[in-house]
Amino acid sequence: METRIIDRKLDVLRDKLLLLGGTTEKALYLSMRSLTERDSDLARKVIKDDKVINKMEVEIDQMSVEILALQQPAAHDLRFVISVAKITPVLERIADHAANIAEAAIVLNNEPEITPYSELPKMAEIAGEMLQTALDAFTSEDSELSRSMIKRDREIDEAYNRIFDKLIRLMIDNPPLTTGAAHLLFVAKHLERIGDYVKDICELNVYLIEAAFIKHKKKI
């Protein structure tokens, strides 16, 4: 079978999306490191690099529109372009949350350290793993794996609720730590949102593979 013109374009589009995905994963990882290692320089780098991610988003948008207009894809090709076009802004938003975590880290690094705080990095680890797995599932077109990640979002939500309770308790018990605790709450919220976004990516994976719309459905 000879290569179609559209195949080359779709390959480039896939590469661009995976590059965006990898860069987003890295931004999340580094933002959490800037927090746990109290490294404000690293936090500033994450914030600065977010511009690169925004640029990648625009490039993918343009390419998706170009393929739709000029190649007029159908069936799997069409679902692929639609999925990429919809996953892209989700990744960009995840990266925004990473940048927000980095901003919180800069504030927190000027506050007394709140220790020990192991649950937040654990939550970030789960979010990072989920994101990586969602992108792997996109690449390998594995709808079962995507569905399992959707279910895993619950772990993040549960961790968020636990952290929320603990931080509120901390604020009541130790008022001088309120500013720091409030910023940690923001961080926890950002991670919780990232879990939701990973879920969105997985739902789009299922659309790509099965042409099924499972968003907002109880039974997936």
Partner: protein, 252 residues
């Protein structure tokens, strides 16, 4: 809506060569069904089966059942002229008669003696031209030659000619393949408009055209009906791998 056309286990032969294999298909009333598939896949042959246009081909032979409104059109007693009046056809290349615009449309009405007076004839011609979205462009030049019209207008004239004898089904064999994009768009809009009153079957090589105007799409390959599905499903998630390969251009 019920089925206008029901085809069951249809086989079609040109002499010893079999062109269509065991085709069963239902075409719902007042819908547009598109036939797509590579050249030589049998889609035009199948279209012609539906109003017995293949009768004129020597050695052509048919097996199976083709029912329109529940009546088998291949029964010996079938009035083929009446059948073709009920099942009109528009071809790839517009083929107006070497007559005036008016006489082209009036032709079928006259030979079928459908009109009661001169005024009735004029009214019928006007209605057919209006239904074919051509009236406004030709109303001031009805006595002039049909050959003076543009390609797109000639094609709509042929559609008006088909509509004038009040058919129920319109078969279209690549009606816009020789037209520019604007004329094509007019034909497409017309097809969508006409389905309110008619059942339309259209053969097209233009995938996007099938996607734009049809309610259902049937995909043929090597004389076999591979898949028939709602058009939206066909173009986003076809059931058959062969359909997917064809509509995404993996083979030509």
């Amino acid at each position: 809506m019920g089925n206008k056309i029901t085809v069951k286990n249809l086989n079609f032969f040109y002499g010893k060569d079999q062109a269509l294999f065991d085709i069963s298909l239902k075409i719902p009333e007042r819908e547009v069904m598109a036939f797509v598939g590579p050249s030589g896949c049998g889609k035009s042959t199948f279209l012609r089966v539906l109003n017995r246009m293949n009768d004129t081909i020597p050695y052509a032979r048919i097996e199976g059942e083709v029912k329109i409104d529940g009546k088998d059109i291949y029964k010996a007693k079938t009035d083929v002229v009446a059948l073709r009046r009920m099942v009109g056809m528009v071809f790839q290349k517009s083929n107006p008669f070497p007559k005036s615009i008016f006489d082209n449309v009036a032709y079928g009405i006259r030979i079928n003696r459908m009109h009661s007076s001169k005024k009735d004839l004029a009214d019928r011609v006007e209605k057919a031209l209006k239904d074919a979205a051509l009236w406004d462009e030709v109303k001031d030049r009805l006595p002039t030659s049909a050959f003076g019209l543009s390609g797109g207008q000639q094609q709509r004239l042929c559609i008006a000619r088909a509509l004038a004898v009040q058919p129920e089904v319109i078969l279209m064999d690549e009606p816009a393949s020789a037209l520019d994009p604007i004329a094509t768009q007019k034909i497409e809009e017309l097809v969508v408009e006409l389905k309110k009153d008619y059942t339309i079957v259209i053969v097209t090589h233009n995938m996007q055209q099938a996607a734009r105007i049809s309610d259902r799409t049937a995909f043929f390959m090597l004389g076999k009906l591979i898949e028939v599905n709602p058009t939206e499903k066909m173009f986003t998630n076809p059931d058959d791998k062969l359909t997917e390969d064809y509509i995404t251009g993996r083979f030509g």
